[in-house]
Symmetry: C2
Subunit: 360 residues, 2 copies
């Protein structure tokens, strides 16, 4: 059972189940999540509803669910400890939908339309203007519902998602002011690590951020020889300064920082060959992947554990979400009215059942 | 317990709890609802969530809840029979929120933006452009969730709301095609009765449709002398053809149709004085209001009955809504995935509990 000690800061992160996790996730997010889980009350959501905002046909939903299990396996392998972290499936927490609808009532529509990241999502999903759904426009409100239902104070995100956390913060402020102060104000924690570039498994792969959809990713679940072969496609790029070389990014991302600085300098000054640097990167990545691979093997020995972790975490998340929703409904006056109606209805029913009581 | 016989057509209507019901509601909607309830499986929702889309401050919510009880009293007084009709409070049916969020995923945003009635609602609520909420834009999807959760086939509406039922129909078609055919296609039934004009309690009151916000309404809960005084403000308007006179509208709305035609003709031809027509209208309205007033007195003798009717109806509506949501989640593949995860989790837990079973 995760510690829900109120004095621990509450942190929420999540993944859209669009594919397996890769080294970019490891460097940009997973290490920090694993490091934080001991000192924080930690929530990790598998954002399957969010994935529906851009693709909601039946086949996409089925593919998405295959990814859910592989992502949970990746998270467990990477060191997310379900005894410390509430790992849950967004679509199976009913109160999140209620919160989203109620938050929509206090969300200015223009504020959503101005979010640049929505246009980016529509473009990435190759949606024509008339294919953009209300669900996509409402996506940041759903994200705010996730953040606020967990009463998260810290939301580690990439720079492109800061505006979403800021929206959640504005909605928390609006709610606290208009009704009752029930929400802590969530703050984004922007990753200080630069985004990891991809590998050259596709032409130009090194020139873009590592990403499943670009085909330039090294997956946590790749076997050692695949990892090695993919990493060995990294090479010096003409026209880039030494510090901007993708290989230098891998050096900084995977070697201990003292050694990384020294190695990068030696590489830049030509004292170290590309092949030597590559050997050291492969070795360092392998050193980090080895225990991940070991934990993944254990998970694969016992695949039902994936389901158990997800179901247990989701049931815990439901309790948290219901408690928040109850506070929200009480603060807005919705629960008060309903509770009074139920009380009056019960009183009348009790009177009817009392043979010598007052007439009903 | 209302008849949920599947062969009876399912009909849904609703009221936003913004004020007490008046003669315009009686003529335009209540008579038909009461007449339909015996031959239909009938749902009447009190749309308190819809009211939040334009006004969500705490005071407005409190005022709204006072109106909820007065509207239920009006509906019971008008002859809505809670043994025939499921009368329920929208905000207290959790599955409606879930359905709304899922339907947003298949609703093109542009289709919502093109609905003229949204601009009208924003104008009527005196909302500046930057005060329009996501909730208002999503309002028609929430309405579709109400209609589809009840699997309504018939939705009696005013002409200005036809486009909303058509949106619900499109969403039902899209859902049935994309996933599984679980929804009957709802059809609007547009009132054939012309809208009742107001009374002249305010200058120009007769020239507008009867409406609470215009101050030109005769309420079902008005006492007889108030009804009489308000009706007696009706008079011949200069510059209007005899058939377009507001008084003629009251004649057609409240006198039996044979008598109405003859009375209107005699009035138009000057064979009947304004005072004589007015007397007959007052008499006819009173004849219709008398039993309504009697039922209202009974309700007021036993105010907890209002709560009991609302709570019982809402609990019935919840069952209907959960059943629909379950079908929706199954059709989309969301329930299938979750059910399998729960089953696998249980299997693992059972194995752990079996001391001589297979290792866990």
């Amino acid at each position: 059972m995760p510690d829900t000690d109120e004095r621990r800061p509450r942190v929420l992160t999540g993944d859209r189940p669009t594919g397996p996790l890769h080294l970019g996730h490891l460097v940009g997010s997973l290490r920090a999540r694993v490091a934080m889980q001991d000192e924080h009350t930690s929530f990790v959501l598998i954002a399957d509803l969010h994935a529906l905002a851009t693709r909601s046909d039946r086949d996409s939903i089925e593919r998405m669910h295959e990814h859910v299990r592989s992502i949970v396996a990746d998270l467990l392998a990477a060191g997310i400890d379900p005894d410390e972290t509430t790992l849950y499936l967004q679509s199976a927490v009913p109160a999140v939908y209620d919160l989203a609808v109620l938050l929509q009532m206090i969300t200015p529509r223009r504020r959503l339309e101005r979010l640049p990241s929505l246009a980016v999502m529509a473009r990435d999903a190759r949606l024509a203007d008339d294919e953009v759904t209300m669900g996509l426009l409402g996506y940041p409100v759903l994200q705010a519902a996730d953040i606020l239902m967990a009463r998260a104070e810290l939301v580690p995100v990439g720079a492109d998602n800061v505006e979403r956390v800021e929206l959640a913060r504005t909605l928390a402020e609006t709610f606290n002011e208009r009704y009752e102060p029930i929400f802590p104000l969530p703050a984004p924690r922007v990753a200080t690590v630069p985004a990891l570039p991809g590998v050259e498994t596709v032409p130009g792969g090194m020139r873009r951020k590592m990403s499943k959809s670009l085909g330039n990713a090294v997956y946590l679940s790749d076997p050692p020889d695949v990892v090695r072969d993919k990493l060995r496609t990294l090479c010096r790029l003409d026209g880039l300064a030494p510090d901007d070389q993708p290989l230098a990014a891998f050096v900084h991302a995977f070697l201990p920082s003292d050694e990384a600085d020294e190695t990068a300098r030696a590489f830049a000054e030509g004292r170290l060959s590309e092949a030597a640097v590559l050997d050291r990167v492969v070795e360092a990545v392998e050193a980090e992947l080895a225990p991940i691979r070991e934990r993944r093997a254990a998970v694969e020995q016992d695949p039902d554990r994936i389901d158990e972790v997800l179901v247990d975490g989701t049931i815990r998340a439901r309790d948290v979400a219901y408690a928040t929703l109850e506070d929200v409904r009480r603060a807005m006056g919705l629960a008060t009215f309903w509770d009074q109606a139920v009380e009056a209805a019960h009183a009348r029913s009790r009177r009817r059942k009392t043979p010598f009581g007052p007439p009903s």
